[in-house]
Point group: C2
Chain length 208, copies 2
């Protein structure tokens, strides 16, 4: 069992190019969403929602927006970074048949959310824990997940009719894949290397 979890954790990738376009079986989707929903949340507030997007017009509209934001980011780069970025595919919105938008409702469980009075962002953290459960469950089911973050929150809110006050946290492309890359895309393309874990560890106090 331990081997199973670690295997999934290390095999998981952020997928852009490998979606086959095949559908996700309903019972698989159920298990994945149930896994996401089993995440811990501050004060048991469970502040997440999942918008399942299969509509092609909606995915196309989002993809157009992502292209625009890609250009915005590209304009901040020059030289080698600009060249590297030009080779990197940043989304599989059109290729994956399903996307899942995960949202955060700060009012859920309020007004007195146990454990959130001192840390306003604690509810947002809970939503991210649910996203990682979803991502690992999908990986265990041999699906790929790609988190697209080239978008403006207000655009997505309007596109999906998300009420004001509720915040979109992630657009996740989800679906069967031809394979999962062994090395993260950004590392393969020379954008950035992985840091040794030992560099991230401090003992009793911040060091370095």
């Amino acid at each position: 069992m331990i081997h199973g979890l670690y295997d999934v954790i290390h095999r998981r990738r952020d997928v852009r190019a490998e979606f086959t376009g095949e559908p996700v079986a309903p019972e698989v989707l159920d298990r994945i969403l149930t896994a996401a929903h089993a995440a811990p949340s501050v004060g048991l507030s469970q502040p997440w929602d999942f918008v399942l997007i299969r509509s092609e017009p909606v995915r196309k509209a989002f993809h157009e927006h992502v292209r625009t934001e890609r250009d915005v980011f590209a304009a901040t780069l020059s030289g080698a970074a600009a060249e590297r970025f030009a080779r990197i595919k940043i989304d599989g919105v059109l290729e994956a048949g399903l996307s899942i938008v995960v949202t955060y409702d700060p009012a859920r469980g309020g007004p007195a959310v146990l454990g959130r009075h001192a840390i306003a962002d604690a509810g947002l953290y809970s939503v991210c824990l649910a996203i990682q459960n979803l991502w690992l469950a999908a990986t265990a089911e041999d699906l790929g997940v790609g988190w697209v973050s080239f978008y403006r929150e207000d655009f997505l809110q309007e596109l999906l009719g998300i009420p004001s006050g509720i915040r979109p946290v992630a657009w996740l492309c989800v679906g069967p894949v031809s394979h999962l890359e062994q090395v993260p895309d950004l590392e393969r393309h020379g954008w950035r290397q992985r840091r040794p874990v030992t560099d991230a560890i401090h003992e009793d106090r911040w060091a370095g």
Copy 2:
């Protein structure tokens, strides 16, 4: 393998009262931190760090602070909520021999972090994904994890000498446990019930 992951996801609890005080074996801690470090991150920025806290004076100082913040929250409650909260243990800082503080460095991988130009919080999200990997790995290793959020970030920053600009995201108590509860503490104590997952699902557009 699939069963293994789902088993861990659903067995995972937020632990307060069940720590035995026994140490975490070094090779187990290595696997857990390596799992956390394998999380996805925006632009492969890997913006997390882990401060391992075994010092008793540091844990005692933090625990005192948590008690004070517990009182701050309790003062906002009245009636049945106040009575329910009085029965709930909110931390195992003294009982667990190890705590891990996870931090976020927004400057890591900057200035042009791929995928963060439009969403400032994307780096913070990455740190939470690492926390969930850590939590699941610890659960698979038969350890308990308890996320303590009754603290002020500036207090913790000063206590651990964390540089300004780097943000503490979580204080996690980690250690062997007598058992994991089957039902979350807050549900057992009648603080809040779990929501049916079907209530969290929307199709193509926000509904309801």
